[in-house]
Symmetry: C2
Subunit: 374 residues, 2 copies
């Protein structure tokens, strides 16, 4: 299997955008191609979760490739719910690793803010097991259930969960690409309105528009893809043995570290899927970045802050950079590339090994990608 | 790049099915795994064009993997409109060729017949360029336009186009998996009701439900994937230089034959994307299977019939086996595997090299896959 490198990375500002998704994807894609000094890729992978219902447009890979000016470049679309961006990265990686293409553009994005929130919630809810959905389960409702189970098992209260939001908003305040640029206080998080007990508004990621892109290549660059792993779990959460850790994350991490040939101790910083603040605590342990039961302590002691021992979500995470669904897995990798190459002005962290962690659905289809600077 | 082989193939009967799509996919997948003597794949690729709108279900890769009993097997979804099955095959191929997985199950399918025909037409129409769609263009309308252009350029009349339908229905009559099992006469085709001038009902594929699956492996089996190629074109047909040949097919064929290391003369039989009967004539020439301008002659002289020199669509093709969208690209390959291994009872043709050709959208994202018996 050939080594795969990242030649370029780019993304749009995340937030409430007025442009169409094709324009957002074009902005991200052309930024990635420009930093890669590549005019034309050999292949394109498009990640989008549900452009059919968000926008009324299908055949979206051809739609985007044509709009980019690359109608004659082979293109496919990849979807694994909210981790579609990470899955698209894997599909591009496989093509380069196999020698089927030398330069692959992977671009992902979503446009949702033009729709009413209940409609967005309904469309995201299609990721939930149909039987559980039939009883009214929504993504925040299931996340609330997971959080209650976590609080029953570990000494985790509202304050601990809220500290994740405070930290990630503080990071996003330094990120010009983030949806939210203002810091929030612990008090403000803890007094924000209840969404799905015990989760409050400021424990949940926003509905965001945006796009992100990377260019993968078989030629050596400063950033190598050291490992990539996928993990899956049952669609229905009632079929799981454990609600307070995600088997899909654990399996993805095992596979990614096995490919990398080293363990979590080598990771210097990470972008972690904090669609709901407590998921960052669960994921830190599932990924092996902190020992079991120690995520709260690491968070409360500032170890996961920008100036801590192990910065988590320097971008602001899904919570504060925002979560434009299929853009997110790629936006995490863009942030890792920028950090590894010293281009994260205002929020720069040190390190040679970065990890990105993306959750699809309610942890049914998760990815871990490890990047290493050469 | 590693050689990739086909270890197993299976499909459902195509037609108006009462089962859900997950059940259809399970039937096809377990049939493919059984013929491969494989209990558990390393990875799963799910091809589905639009389960969100046809069924209201998303996160479909996890949904299907869980239903199959493989919740812990990594899975991704691939979509390239009506060629999604062929694209899924390519994604599985890339994983095996790269050494990322040894045994990949690729399963594709669609369930549409429970919806009213105008709604199906609207959903399939999402594949069309939004501007052209805004003027009322549907897939049959654009195919009618292409057909009129073809008839203006070549000596092709209604009789010639209709003969493709007659031939493919005759083939399907021998295929227990086909949607339509009855032969049709030239007169019946030519007097069927007009759908989109000059295309009549019996020039158009039906709306079908069904699923198909193959197992790809790095281990030697009787059938090798000799070549695989993708070709693309502008989403909008108004941006094309030529309406009467498909650049996407030509590019896909060039790439597939380049990988195979031989040319079209070695192809013994083919499954060709005849969603509309004249597309078979266009495609035979685009693929290089007959010289330019000779497709009509080959068809009228019986060369493309089951007992002809170059049997085309021994399964009955999209026209008569049926076109369950994301199943189709895989169903073509299942037919090729069955033919190459002597398991196409009642419609068996001779040959060692088979070609499958799949069109995505209105020829925006096409695939050519070449299989060779060892």
């Amino acid at each position: 299997m050939r080594d795969v490198w990242i030649a370029g990375a780019g993304m749009t500002r995340v937030g409430r955008r007025t442009e169409g998704l094709r324009d957002l994807m074009a902005e991200a894609a052309h930024a990635a191609l420009a930093t890669a000094s590549i005019e034309r890729p050999d292949a394109i992978v498009v990640a989008a979760m549900n452009p059919e219902e968000f926008l009324g447009d299908g055949n979206f890979a051809s739609n985007v490739a044509t709009h980019l000016g690359f109608a004659d470049v082979p293109t496919i679309r990849i979807e694994t719910a909210t981790s579609s961006g990470a899955a698209g990265f894997y599909a591009g990686f496989a093509q380069v690793a196999a020698g089927l293409a030398r330069r692959v553009l992977v671009v992902g994005g979503e446009k949702m803010t033009h729709l009413p929130t209940p409609r967005v919630s309904e469309l995201i809810g299609r990721s939930i097991d149909p039987y559980e959905r039939s009883y009214g389960a929504t993504m925040p409702a299931l996340a609330g259930l997971v959080t209650r189970a976590l609080m029953a098992r570990q000494p985790i209260g509202e304050r601990e969960i809220s500290q994740v939001s405070v930290k990630n908003h503080a990071h996003a305040a330094r990120n010009p690409y983030a949806h939210f640029r203002e810091p929030v206080s612990l008090e403000r998080v803890m007094s924000s309105r209840m969404v799905a007990d015990p989760l409050r508004l400021l424990h949940c990621c926003p509905i965001s528009d945006g796009a992100a892109a990377v260019v993968l290549t078989a030629e050596r660059t400063p950033v190598r893809v050291a490992g990539i792993g996928q993990g899956t779990d049952t669609l229905a959460i009632r079929h799981r043995y454990d609600l307070t850790s995600f088997r899909a994350t654990q399996a993805a991490a095992r596979a990614a570290f096995a490919m990398a040939g080293f363990g979590p101790a080598r990771v210097d910083f990470a972008e972690v899927h904090d669609a709901f603040a407590p998921f960052e605590l669960i994921s830190l342990e599932d990924l092996g970045l902190v020992p079991p039961g120690k995520a709260v302590r690491a968070t409360m002691h500032g170890e996961t802050a920008l100036d801590g021992r192990l910065p988590i979500n320097p971008s602001g995470g899904l919570k504060a950079r925002g979560h434009p669904l299929a853009a997110t897995g790629l936006a995490q990798l863009v942030e890792c590339v920028w950090q590894l190459t010293g281009r994260a002005e205002g929020r720069q962290v040190d390190g040679r090994v970065a990890l990105a962690h993306s959750i699809g659905g309610l942890a049914t289809n998760n990815w871990v990608t490890i990047l290493e600077s050469a």
